[in-house]
């Protein structure tokens, strides 16, 4: 048997396993491109959880009540944990945690652009919980059905925990949207700034998403970017309207025929600028992450020295 037919057979069996709904596990045969795409997606996702701690973490000392503070600490701890679940999943594909971490610190790794926007007022913390985590849950619910076992299991656990994030955020926004004039204005200001970046979180339109087709065939993604974006839109638009907030999209409309909400054009030129590192907070986030890593060096040294001495 030639090497080419061998690979063709293996690929056929691999795709048949996915079609049967089996999970691919570490050590199983997989096409190089499957491994590569998964490492790309999982590491990007892991870094997003880690960088995602920064916009909210800086509000822990400024939370307006003890309850809100405990909730926010718990949420930020969860994001750290989610980063760890995902680094673990990436490692099962043969990349080391050290490589992943170094790529992030050196600014070579991508993470979700949503974290390159600043948190300017307290309502942003609620808006991130409701809309940013809400959008992430939509993506993650889809990825929980992913064909790669470790990624799928990490997503199931993350979705369950993120639901708390989304609900505590919504609880805040619903309250403030119906609160004092200052609270209402703070909340509307927050929605105005986050709405479009949140819609961009689902990625480019299907027509401009080069990886999607093969990722769907291999069961890595099970729904397209536009499909998941639509699910999100249909859920949150009525909920935001119900509490009297104005969605900053003059072209937003309900299409009675398809029973879907339709958004106006997304500014993709802006999106790509942020992806390329020119967003409002890219440099700040990277510098803060590096500083945190450097400040933790003595802890790593101490635990290593302790283990060696035992």
């Amino acid at each position: 048997m030639t090497q080419t037919t061998d690979i063709t057979l293996k690929l056929a069996e691999f795709e048949a396993r996915i079609a049967r709904g089996e999970k691919i596990e570490p050590g199983d045969w997989m096409p190089d491109d499957y491994r590569k795409q998964l490492i790309r997606m999982i590491s990007q996702h892991a870094h997003s959880e880690i960088v995602g701690m920064l916009p909210e973490g800086n509000y822990i000392t400024r939370a307006p009540s003890l309850r809100r503070k405990m909730v926010l600490i718990a949420k930020v701890q969860d994001e750290a944990g989610h980063g760890q679940y995902l680094y673990h999943a990436a490692e099962t594909l043969g990349i080391s945690r050290d490589e992943l971490e170094q790529a992030l610190l050196a600014g070579k790794a991508k993470y979700s652009s949503i974290f390159n926007y600043p948190t300017l007022n307290w309502a942003d913390i609620g808006m991130i919980g409701w809309l940013v985590d809400g959008a992430a849950i939509k993506n993650q619910t889809m990825l929980a059905h992913c064909s790669y076992g470790p990624y799928s299991r990490a997503m199931v656990r993350i979705c369950a925990e993120e639901t708390f994030h989304q609900r505590q955020g919504k609880e805040m926004i619903v309250k403030y949207a119906q609160g004092t004039p200052n609270q209402r204005q703070m909340t509307q200001d927050s929605l105005n700034r986050w709405w479009w970046p949140v819609l961009m979180m689902f990625g480019p339109h299907d027509s401009d998403s080069p990886n999607s087709e093969v990722l769907i065939r291999w069961g890595v993604k099970t729904q397209s970017n536009d499909t998941v974006r639509q699910l999100f839109l249909d859920e949150v638009v009525p909920e935001l309207m119900a509490i009297g907030l104005q969605i900053p999209d003059p072209q937003l409309r309900y299409d009675a025929e398809s029973k879907h909400w339709k958004h106006g054009p997304i500014d993709w030129a802006h999106f790509w600028q942020v992806v390329k590192g020119n967003g409002p907070m890219n440099k700040e986030r990277l510098a803060t992450r590096n500083q945190a890593h450097d400040n933790g060096a003595w802890v790593r040294d101490a635990v290593t020295a302790y283990a060696e001495r035992k």
Binding site: K23, R97, G149, A154, A160, F164, E171, P238, L252, V303
Partner: protein, 198 residues
């Protein structure tokens, strides 16, 4: 060092693999595991096993003939594994994955077998723990497992029970409200432009 972590959700359930942590020793690995995998109140015990102590089979259709491959390890690393563990009879802990349906389940503890090599341990496990389908086998010497202590477990895992604000059920009102709001708006929509409605 990388440690695989196994979590037990309730006293009558087996320890199941949930992920890994990096730590310089087993004590630290268990502490990290508590922080990373025990933030919700569904843990009663955790085990940590150095990755290098685990011998794993992978699913391959032709591998029904017990062809083994060691998890994430080069052939020379497998050689040193065998040298380190010798050939005397050892008690191996056995973990296996038997379902493709339950999305959260990977390998769960099945019991122990006595064998002189990890390959023999897998063969012994196949006889001792027969099941219509086993997709993954993991074995490790029983002595390689570090466990949380039963007396200390409440102080490790019970504080998570008091943090009810971490549970999505704590925000049940929010979920009910969302469903109501969506239903109200849906009934208002009669195909008219919502901006005109407002």
């Amino acid at each position: 060092m990388r440690y695989e972590i196994f979590k037990q959700d309730a006293p009558n359930q087996p320890h199941s693999n949930i992920g890994s942590v990096h730590a310089p020793d087993a004590e630290m690995a268990l502490m990290h595991a508590r922080d990373v995998y025990g933030r919700r109140p569904n843990a009663v015990s955790m085990w940590a096993v150095p990755e290098s102590e685990i011998y794993a089979t992978s699913h391959e259709p032709e591998a029904l003939s017990l062809e083994l491959s060691s998890k994430n390890q080069a052939p020379e690393a497998q050689g040193s594994w065998l040298m380190a563990h010798g050939s005397r009879l050892t008690s191996y802990a056995v973990f296996r994955k038997t379902s493709q349906r339950r999305s959260m389940t990977y390998v769960a503890y099945a019991g122990t077998v006595a064998a002189s090599t990890p390959q023999d341990a897998v063969t012994a496990a196949m006889h001792k723990f027969p099941s219509p389908e086993t997709f993954v086998w993991w074995v490790c010497p029983e002595t390689a497992i570090s466990k949380t202590e039963a007396e200390a477990a409440p102080s490790w895992f019970e504080p998570a029970k008091d943090k009810v604000y971490r549970q999505q059920s704590y925000y049940g009102d929010v979920a009910r409200q969302s469903r109501r709001q969506r239903a109200e708006i849906a009934s208002k929509l009669s195909g008219a432009d919502p901006h005109e409605d407002a």
